[in-house]
Point group: none
Chain length 216, copies 4
């Protein structure tokens, strides 16, 4: 009876199942049938609750956005007045955790990654709501690391390098284990991966900036 903690309704189960399937298969390959099967819902439930397959997708995106914000806030364990280095470390850690979280409602990172590679109609909204804020946050961090007066282009490219390193471990997740027969390091130990990417990036940023401020 109570609205907040109601037992799982079809609408909710649909959202969860759809997130799972969309993250696995992408928008096109995902089928409404499979989503409804997993949600134990009727085939017409999608149409009733979300009008469309597209409508369901948009709803999943929005829901995942909210969930991700609760679970991985932008200030991930940062104290007051954090240094740029601390902020970079927090950014990379939360970025990777979002991508490799094996927990149930963690589609957001996966969906965003898919949307970047193969956009749908929902991309524009997703950019403004989720992607741009994160990007702007990173741009600020990088700018602080590079020092005042750095050209926008350079800031931009350094941010891309940070993001690119992180996403590579996601995009190439199927290939890396096959290339690297010895030890499946990387995707397993996210914390170690984060530390390494931060170090590599600091080196890159350091070299591209005029001074050596970030080294210490």
């Amino acid at each position: 009876m109570s609205p907040p903690d109601r037992q799982s309704h079809t609408c909710r189960r649909l959202l969860d199942a759809a997130g799972e399937v969309f993250a696995e298969c992408g928008f096109r390959r995902a089928t409404v049938r499979e989503i409804c099967r997993r949600a134990q819902a009727n085939i017409a439930a999608v149409n009733y609750h979300f009008r469309d397959k597209e409508g369901l997708y948009a709803a999943v995106l929005g829901d995942a956005h909210r969930t991700a914000h609760e679970k991985y806030p932008v200030t991930l364990g940062l104290g007051a007045n954090p240094t740029p280095l601390e902020r970079l470390r927090a950014f990379v850690r939360s970025f990777l955790l979002r991508l490799f979280d094996p927990g149930r409602p963690a589609w957001h990172g996966l969906l965003m990654a898919r949307e970047m590679v193969e956009p749908t109609k929902a991309l524009d909204a997703l950019i403004e709501e989720s992607i741009r804020p994160r990007y702007d946050l990173l741009l600020g961090i990088v700018r602080d690391l590079l020092g005042p007066g750095t050209a926008d282009d350079l800031v931009w490219m350094c941010a891309n390098s940070v993001i690119g390193q992180c996403m590579h471990y996601h995009h190439a997740r199927h290939v890396l284990p096959k290339l690297q027969r010895q030890a499946p390091a990387g995707t397993a130990d996210v914390e170690r991966l984060a530390e390494y990417i931060v170090e590599f990036s600091l080196g890159g940023i350091d070299r591209l900036s005029g001074s050596r401020r970030t080294t210490g």
Copy 2:
């Protein structure tokens, strides 16, 4: 309305058209009908010449591999006894050029990128034939830059960082222009992009290696 080169064998036209379509849409979204339409071939031609859609895809991959080797040899314009730095620069340049080559039969880079993100049954063969050699090449370069005795894990991670930076400009190609309203830098000026990624990577490698040999 007259066929462009109808006299060339159907098999050849099919290969070209398929490469185009597969690179544009990926394996799943690409349709046999569209490929045959562009190749001005019969709808059954694919099954006749290549058994099925998968067979055509494998053939395209092999064909693209050979073409790419002719167009972008591993020793991309390097003289004798090139330094590790020169080899890194050559690697990054050729990697980016392969991804952004607007020329006609330049599917190879695009197909490899797609295969990494969304593998098909052809992945294993592609890895052994095309991906691993390139990766090993890069691993060698990075190892030389890091210095002798560097742990394999570290070499591996640095290589991933280099690759990840390059691929990001491809994977995020639909998003970057929308995020970066000011100047569409990056994909346009490949040479500048390459130089920058090399510098950033040298900084990262430098910081992660014990010595400072690569700095000078």
Copy 3:
């Protein structure tokens, strides 16, 4: 956005909206959803109040019948002891007015016309309640015009000719404007149309009857 007359009973709003939609689209093409949308009623309201779509349709037909009788009584403005000619004129006028009345609850003519072309289960009831009385009325008029002792067949056929002429302007309403590029006469000026059909019919009846009574 405020409901027009939400306080009026759902049942009543449903009847009005359904008449509108049924007249526009016919029974099959009309959807319960659209009717409920226009009536600002719940999707299940139709089944609740009228058992099913068919029940609603029957109710609309009955309601329209009563409304039509109030608005267009059989003795349409006729004085006492009208001549057959006057009665024919009144019949044709009221028939056309019913078909082309742009007023809100004027579905009756349109619904009858639809039912003639594409009958539903409600046809039999509609015939006995609405159609046959009008037809009998017309048969009586035509019989008086043809003169006593005229064969039933002939009376019957003349009545059909009168009705057919009238309905043609309704049935062909989508085609006539496209055929007749010059002037969209006809549907606009109902009065003129009625006069003309009466004259044409008098000529036809006159020719088929033995005498010339109706000419003067």
Copy 4:
């Protein structure tokens, strides 16, 4: 083997079955499944041969047009230099025969009638190809009967009256038998119906024209 008299191909059977179903149910209510069932064809055959349900409908319309022209030429049994009266008689006869022909490929009349009442996207093409020529033919006949110098409006309305009388026996085909319990005349005896409609129309035209030329 021989192209002209080939045994019934799927394409042909589809056309026949579709004509039957479209004439029975109209475009919307007709289902591709039912058409394919009657044609003993696969459900995808419609898509292959005609692209669309719409494409099939257009093809049926075109096919029916050709068939009707062969079976019921405009000059239906007319000698040289026929009088206007003879031409009117021929027009009405062929019009009714087209509507009531129980033969197999006689959908044309029925489809045109449906299209007039409930148009589809194919209407415009149908008007120019089939409807307008017939209408113009009738206009010419009526003009000759009315005499030179008759106003276009009058000619037009008289033509509508002729057409309307004919079509009424088709449109009201489900109602007439129920209204007229005694004898199901009309649809059965087309020849008698035609004669009667011609007579009635001559009377109407005669009355509306100034002179009495057509009477004799």
